[in-house]
């Protein structure tokens, strides 16, 4: 089936670029529908499922701009276990490419029955979706993720990933075991979130947020489950970030603390170095399709 045949639902809560991005989506899929302002990720996705008339439906997060080629994809549902298909998004601040914020195709019944985030019964589903085997991640990128319209938006995106990237199945691990127990892809993503971005508009807030998220989760007794509550995160931002006079200095202070307590060695990259690395990272990803290691090298 072609992706354009599924209902497309745009999910927004309070994102400052939501109107612009929804208008862009409607130019690509004029019948795209929208769920706005529903609190809680579980509830918002359930509302989307109710709105959809098709058995499978596509969700587009409000900070996404979708590549129009996405709607020309052919999907074959050859594995009945798979309930969610996900495509990568490319973060426009730090260049990371992964499922975070990417386009997803959900089975309606699965969404109706799932219990995650605010509706979770188990610890592992408190802060993220819990897909078990029913999840298929594609490597292809079909959207760009624009997280930096305002300082708050950039900080929140970084903070959330800073929290989530050090969790194992939704739970904290001992600080000394993070490097061993956490999947290296997540550690890599955390490194990038915590260092790259000062060259982009509001990007330093994303870097600060990632460091604060990692620090508060692993070095304090802060209840990391609150990361799912956007209203709480706005209050937290107003309390701990808005009063700061020197964001760059705070990034560096947190770098030292994280080094002392968790052993993470994250340098502070000014905007020149950050831009240089971001470009190099993009080139490296492109080179990946030309060269790769043989086995056991």
């Amino acid at each position: 089936m072609k992706t354009i045949e599924f209902d497309t639902i745009f999910l927004s809560y309070d994102e400052p670029n939501a109107e612009k991005n929804y208008a862009d989506l409607c130019s690509k899929v004029p019948w795209a529908q929208r769920i706005h302002g529903v609190k809680g990720s579980d509830a918002a996705h359930k509302a989307a499922a109710e709105l959809a008339d098709t058995d499978w439906f596509i969700t587009i997060d409000a900070d996404n701009i979708v590549n129009p080629n996405f709607f020309d994809l052919d999907i074959s549902f050859d594995d009945p276990k798979v309930q969610v298909y996900s495509w990568c998004g490319e973060n426009t601040v730090n260049g990371l490419i992964y499922g975070n914020g990417g386009v997803k195709l959900w089975h309606k019944d699965f969404v109706r029955q799932m219990q995650t985030h605010e509706a979770a019964e188990h610890d592992r589903a408190q802060v993220d979706f819990c897909w078990e085997n029913g999840y298929k991640q594609f490597k292809e990128v079909f959207s760009t993720v624009h997280i930096n319209t305002t300082p708050l938006q950039a900080w929140r995106a970084g903070f959330r990933e800073g929290v989530k990237m050090t969790l194992l199945d939704g739970e904290k691990v001992h600080p000394q075991e993070i490097e061993q127990k956490i999947w290296w892809h997540n550690i890599h993503r955390l490194k990038i979130w915590s260092t790259i971005g000062t060259h982009a508009v509001n990007g330093k807030y994303a870097v600060l947020g990632a460091r604060q998220g990692a620090y508060m989760t692993n070095c304090t007794d802060w209840d990391y489950i609150q990361v799912r509550d956007f209203d709480y995160l706005t209050e937290l931002y107003n309390e701990i970030v808005a009063p700061l006079e020197n964001i760059d200095a705070e990034i560096q202070i947190l770098g030292k603390k994280l080094n002392l307590e968790l052993g993470f060695s994250w340098p502070y990259l000014d905007n020149e170095l950050s831009l240089y690395f971001a470009n190099l990272y993009k080139e490296t990803i492109n080179l990946g399709s030309s060269y790769f290691r043989g086995s056991n090298v």
């Binding site: 072609k2 992706t3 354009i4 004029p30 019948w31 769920i35 706005h36 052919d74």
Partner: protein, 349 residues
């Protein structure tokens, strides 16, 4: 040279088909089309043209002379139709096109070609005037009936959903305009809005002027509704427009003045109903900030206007009711029962 097909989902209008045949004698007629396969199997060329039944060709180009470039001959080429890209199509024979794409004439794999090949055949959609007991209904009906020949009227049907279903039954066009009994249509509004092919299942609401608080938005505005979807709407919902179609378009063009402030009860009732809808946030597409601003104005502005105090009183009562029964659909549905509203108004006075 590509095959040329004249395509209709029902029956192609004979005169129009004759005209196409005159210009393109080898054109093939395809009627009662249900899917893309019904069309593509009729062609034997690598690509083929489709002339839809609601287009008037402009003769800007000779279709037999146009060639798609080799590097994009796997895209649907869609030509400008007036000022919208929903006109003549040049399809690759081997492409896969879903029913939804075909129905809305909007394709995932497409290339807009900025050459005007046609103009839309704009059918004058029926105008249905909907009145119940509005004191100014006769005057407002006369205004549009004197100007337009295709005005019909539904009067006295109880329940807002059922009144609209009756209006849809009366309409003979695929879409139809609904003018409420208290709407004084502006002279500048001509009922000639062009609907893009992909919006033909969309509820369109035009802007109107509120004479009490001065706000301009869709409250009481003229609506352009899809007939079939209106006929099959769920009558158990509080907000009628969202139950007709999930696709909604707010049109900035000004259509009318909503003269709801004709007497104490009608003024109170209108303000009450609107503010219940706003404060209960039952309309999924509502923007919270905009909604709060509107509520604030309803509840505070217009005291010096005719029956303005009843508008403000109704708004405040509606706001409280909507907030209180936000999660009680049965209680919210009562705002569509005009007898219940009358009782409630009498209780409060």
């Amino acid at each position: 040279m590509y095959d040329i097909l004249a395509v209709s989902f029902s029956k192609f209008e004979e005169l129009r088909w004759e005209k196409i045949k005159e210009q393109y004698p080898t054109a093939i007629l395809c009627e009662n089309v249900k899917s893309f396969k019904d069309i593509s199997t009729k062609s034997f060329t690598k690509m083929f043209w489709v002339i839809w039944d609601n287009l008037e060709l402009t003769n800007n180009i000779n279709l037999n002379e146009y060639r798609a470039t080799q590097w994009d001959d796997d895209y649907v080429h869609i030509f400008r139709n007036g000022d919208v890209f929903d006109g003549v199509c040049l399809f690759p024979k081997k492409i896969s096109i879903s029913d939804r794409e075909l129905h809305y004439r909007f394709f995932a794999r497409k290339k807009d070609i900025d050459i005007q090949v046609s103009n839309p055949v704009i059918k004058q959609n029926d105008i249905i005037f909907l009145s119940y007991d509005e004191l100014n209904a006769e005057k407002n009906f006369k205004i549009i009936n004197d100007r337009f020949s295709n005005v019909k009227r539904v009067h006295g049907v109880k329940g807002i959903h059922h009144a609209h279903i009756e209006a849809a039954k009366l309409a003979e066009t695929e879409m139809f305009y609904v003018v409420d009994g208290d709407a004084k249509v502006l002279e500048t509004f001509d009922f000639d809005y062009r609907v893009e092919e992909w919006c033909k299942d969309t509820v369109h609401v035009f802007s109107s002027i509120n004479p009490v608080n001065g706000m301009i938005y869709g409250y009481g505005g003229i609506k352009l509704l899809p007939k079939q979807k209106t006929l099959s709407m769920n009558t158990e919902t509080t907000d009628m427009t969202t139950s007709i179609s999930k696709q909604f378009k707010s049109v900035k063009a000004l259509s009318n003045i909503t003269e709801f402030n004709t007497d104490p009860f009608n003024t109170w009732k209108s303000a009450f109903r609107e503010c219940v809808k706003l404060s209960s946030k039952i309309i999924a597409r509502q923007n919270d900030t905009e909604t709060d601003e509107r509520l604030q104005k309803w509840c505070t502005e217009g005291m010096n206007k005719q029956f303005g105090e009843y508008s403000v009183k109704g708004a405040i009562a509606g706001k409280l009711y909507g907030e209180k029964f936000r999660d009680d659909p049965e209680k919210l549905r009562l705002i569509n029962d005009f007898e219940w509203l009358k009782k409630k108004f009498n209780e409060i006075q």
